[in-house]
Symmetry: C2
Subunit: 321 residues, 2 copies
């Protein structure tokens, strides 16, 4: 697979059609207070209002919807303790398949309940003594299940890129698109959509300061591994970019900027006080970059993907305190 | 002024046109989780995403936009410590006028700052020894300012009713419309729009249990005054319905249901955990009624106005704890 064929604008358009009935077309939120603070027109794509509360549903649904009836009948497997788990669980159920989600035994009960509530079977493992990849591989071999990864898959990236496609359709021409970066799937799909539609657009990724693996990798010209980052942005705590995602992002991402955990907290608070939107820390990092003045030169019309909102009331109360 | 001419569907349509460029057309939010819990299709009109964070901006803007150039040049006055204060402040500034807002001296600094930030002059008074109506009347007399009340005004009601107009346009036919009731302006405008467009629709008001003045008044067939209610839903802490609003609501509101403060807290938590929306307690009371199973018989397609989101991060953290 060459770099140019990992995912294309047409793949994203096809994905958009495929997922249209199942996903929300999330609103693009405007705030003149935000515009004034930033000194630009800002268009927030509210993927925290997506089904399961994050953009991950787009990718999981698109990938699972492309499986054959036989694959669907054998079932889907995924390992994740986060939004991808819920996304695969719900998409599998809705597409008439069944999912097994491999989750750490110490996952908070609320997350286990959410995944079970979407109709998935859960297998827990001890993350200090067991290897989730082995468990996944065994499941795939024994039960013939299809493993859906959280980002290292062209159909997952194409599905995730539909968030940017919708944003550009609704907001019109933008000078820059700002996207949170974890494993790199959202920005791979989004930059493909954005540069396909508007070749002059600047695509800016945002990572937490402690989790700058993609920034370092882009600077080095190859994938760099960092220690597992400590950050409140748990969805961005990747230690190395994906291989497929990096092959796209090295071509299409113009720049990565970093934000501190405190800047993310400020963005969460701004979300509650002014936008009335609940964001999870990872989901707020793009907004945090804007509020912290990280964009130089400042673009005039900026799209920002608010990637998710699964933080939970108790944790949000802590983060706002 | 007879009952039938206080406000008409045409007034609301005119208001919608008048405020279109200045207000957000707020999104209608769907949640299948909510639909499953309620056993109905629920359409949430997210007025917490409106400018200044509440539906009040619609009414204030509509009323002020109808003033003459001379009235605008003499300025606007209002008394409110809540969302109406911000609404009048911002609408006055945007319409080239200037506002004086009369607020209690013990109003939290954040609220004073917000009103000042929208360009208004603030006059504080001691609410234990001074009378705000007298201060307002003196201002109107001395400086020739126009007083804009929070609900007792046909143009305010018409503006507020545009929230329901948009909801019905976007959601299509509904069996019921659920609206929080404080002074009664939102439900007066909304019921006028709803019954004008869909005569068979049931309009259901929601009050906090401690603040059931409109429920009692509808049952008595006349305005009943209750002691100032103690409730977390500060925007619904009215002790008597407005005269104009009640003259509309006695004709058009089918029923008032009550919710407890605990049920409102549950709705706030559901908002954060599942909807990713920040609501203020008053703004969540309609949703609280649905989640608490207050609607009998349960309608199949229900519109709910989420009326506001100005709660603030610190207070929200308290309410969620």
């Amino acid at each position: 697979m060459t770099e140019t064929t990992v995912v294309s604008l047409q793949d994203i358009r096809d994905a958009a059609e495929r997922i249209a009935g199942a996903t929300h077309r999330t609103p693009v939120i405007r705030s003149r207070t935000l515009d004034q603070l930033v000194g630009a027109q800002v268009f927030l794509k509210a993927e925290n209002l997506q089904r399961i509360g994050a953009f991950k549903f787009r990718g999981a649904y698109n990938a699972i919807a492309r499986l054959s009836p036989e694959q669907l009948s054998r079932g889907i497997a995924a390992y994740s303790s986060g939004n991808h788990a819920q996304a695969v669980a719900l998409a599998s159920t809705e597409l008439g398949s069944h999912a097994v989600i491999i989750m750490p035994a110490d996952t908070p009960a609320a997350k286990l309940d959410a995944v079970a509530g979407y109709g998935a079977e859960i297998i827990t493992y001890d993350r200090y003594t067991e290897n989730r990849e082995e468990i996944g591989a065994r499941l795939a071999a024994d039960r013939g299940m299809t493993l859906i990864p959280p980002y290292e898959h062209p159909d997952v990236m194409a599905g995730q890129g539909t968030a940017a496609l919708e944003l550009l359709e609704d907001a019109g021409d933008l000078d820059a698109l700002v996207v949170p970066v974890g494993g790199g799937g959202l920005i791979a799909g989004s930059s493909t959509a954005a540069k396909g539609l508007q070749p002059g657009i600047r695509v800016i990724g945002v990572e937490p300061e402690a989790g700058d693996d993609t920034k370092r990798s882009l600077e080095a010209g190859e994938r760099v591994t960092i220690p597992v980052p400590r950050t409140i942005a748990d969805g961005q705590a990747a230690s190395v970019p994906g291989e497929l995602t990096f092959s796209v992002n090295r071509r299409l991402v113009d720049e990565i900027v970093l934000v501190t955990d405190d800047e993310i907290r400020d963005a969460l608070r701004f979300g509650v006080d002014r936008l009335k939107l609940v964001m999870e820390p990872s989901g707020a990092s793009g907004l945090a970059a804007l509020l912290a003045g990280r964009l130089h030169p400042a673009p005039a019309r900026i799209g920002v993907i608010i990637s998710g909102g699964n933080v939970g009331a108790a944790r949000l109360a802590q983060l706002l305190a």
